[in-house]
């Protein structure tokens, strides 16, 4: 126990704030009784702390405000007012929920930019700044919007009937970005948000049965429900790009959404590898603290014994598939045939459909 002069003097701040653990409380008065200079300092600090707590002893001096829990009042009213300051993620069917959340997440990030104008020109990926990246997302959401019967939007890109989808897509995204560059970032964000909102308001976003039919978009044929997941994936990846460029940490999608994306990516990777690739036992590891067990798949041929094992974390796997990791850079655990593992990693990175 501290009873010496220097030790007690160090404690006086915590003592005056009532922030000493019980076992240390006794040392202070014992010493103050025999040391005038510490007693004077203690009195001055205690009086200062008292005034912070408010006059007339109306407020607690030492008590914990939290122990009493929230004071009465009307939490519902207060929260309802607070919630008006930003729309929540749209309420949609589970297959569209990750996209709704990703849209809310990008809107939240872009609010940070509205406060400081120059950051719209911050370089993000490829040769896009923040403004152009949002423009790119308008173009990227467009095929699904058109597929679900939403109106064509400006500008119009002429394309011949037999143009390959990727050529047409590159022309389209370039046109949209060039068009958006003529507008203010706010107009571009509003256009992106309006299209996203329209997608989330379609019957296909609200009703799983309406989203069961397949559409071929961007060269890949998937149920509409999965196309919504692809939109969530790309929106998150670009939000993460923008966050990195701005130095703001973008959290990965909430756990259940992240796993919806993982399952879709594994499915697409499996299709890309085909049924003759050397089989690899592929494990996607849950996030730390996530109760969900790690999930495993066998990728490649089903007729041969497994040649190798590969373990990736969920977020890393998504970033690899999203083209944000090179195959040899992604953190991983492996064993067995290295060539078989490399084949899987390279095929995953080559998907980079974003």
């Amino acid at each position: 126990m501290t009873t010496d002069h220097d030790g007690v003097r160090e404690l006086l701040g915590a003592w005056a704030f009532g922030a000493l653990p019980p076992q240390e409380e006794k040392a202070v008065p014992l010493h103050l009784g025999e040391c005038e200079s510490c007693a004077a300092e203690a009195e001055r600090l205690r009086e200062t702390a008292r005034l912070l707590g408010g006059p007339r002893g109306t407020a607690m001096i030492n008590g914990s405000a939290e122990r009493g829990g929230p004071s009465p009042g009307e939490p519902e009213g207060l929260l309802a007012l607070a919630l008006r300051s930003r729309p929540a993620a749209s309420r949609v069917a589970p297959h569209a929920a990750p996209y709704a959340a990703a849209v809310a997440g990008l809107q939240a990030l872009l609010r940070e930019l509205a406060e400081s104008e120059p950051s719209w020109a911050t370089p993000v990926v490829h040769d896009w700044d923040v403004h152009a990246t949002v423009g790119h997302l308008i173009a990227a959401d467009e095929p699904l919007a058109r597929g679900l019967g939403l109106d064509r939007r400006e500008p119009v890109t002429p394309a011949a009937e037999d143009t390959p989808w990727d050529v047409a897509w590159n022309a389209r995204t370039a046109d949209v970005i060039a068009y958006e560059r003529q507008r203010t970032p706010e107009e571009t964000v509003a256009a992106w948000a309006a299209q996203a909102g329209a997608l989330l308001a379609t019957p296909e976003a609200l009703d799983p049965e309406r989203a069961a039919h397949a559409l071929t978009l961007m060269g890949i044929r998937l149920p509409v429900a999965d196309h919504f997941l692809v939109r969530a994936f790309e929106t998150w990846i670009h939000t993460d790009d923008i966050g990195r460029a701005l130095g703001l940490a973008v959290p990965p999608p909430p756990g259940p959404h992240l796993w919806q994306l993982v399952r879709l990516a594994v499915h697409i990777l499996g299709m890309a590898l085909g049924t003759t690739a050397p089989p690899v036992l592929f494990t996607v590891a849950g996030e730390e603290g996530d109760e969900r067990d790690d999930t495993q798949w066998v990728l490649g041929s089903e007729d041969e014994p497994v040649r190798a094992e590969l373990v990736l974390e969920a977020v890393d796997f998504c970033l690899l598939v999203g083209g944000r990791y090179a195959p040899d850079e992604v953190p991983r655990g492996t064993s067995g045939d290295e060539a078989a593992v490399r084949n899987v990693l390279e095929r995953a990175a080559a998907l980079s459909w974003l």
Binding site: A19, A108, R111, P251
Partner: protein, 203 residues
Amino acid sequence: MPVEQTLHEYEGASADAELRRRLVYGDESALTEAYAAYGGLVRAVAVRVTHSPAAAEDVAQEVFAQLWSRPYGFDARRGSLRTWLSVLAHRRAVDWVRSEARHRKAAHADDSALQAIPDAGPGPDEAVVDRERSLLLHTALAELPRTQREVVHLAYFAGRTYRQAAVELGIPEGTAKTRLRSALRKLAESLAEPPDPAWERGA
């Protein structure tokens, strides 16, 4: 800024990060949880500064509106949500009192600063003086360096011992103790100084 040695991983850090994640992605239930956990603290901080339950209600609403609308403003790597909300509530409350004082000044141009303090009903002179000194102190607290301010918030408003505050801030206990004492000494000195002329003008 020097990198602080992290002695203990604050146990709430991952819970804070998870709450932020849900706030970022527009999950309303995350705001409800944040309010259930910290609504009491936020109101209590605001009442201490404003002495007005109605003002504290407004401050609490602003604080939770900001958490909801600007979730990126809170960075779980830089501190706990408890500290962040407490500091934000305090700053908003001090702003409220200043603005209130300004309005009263505008209404009674020749009133003294003493009478500019809100709710200064008839009472003993001593209480009125206390009110002014309390406001001076809270203004000074809001202007302390971040590292000192945070430990004061935890030890004082949130009722943590200096040892618990050290764990939550990831700093050595001795550092927490020293920061509390330095902070309080600085606040005591601010009482001895004449009021900030800028504040007197209502800036």
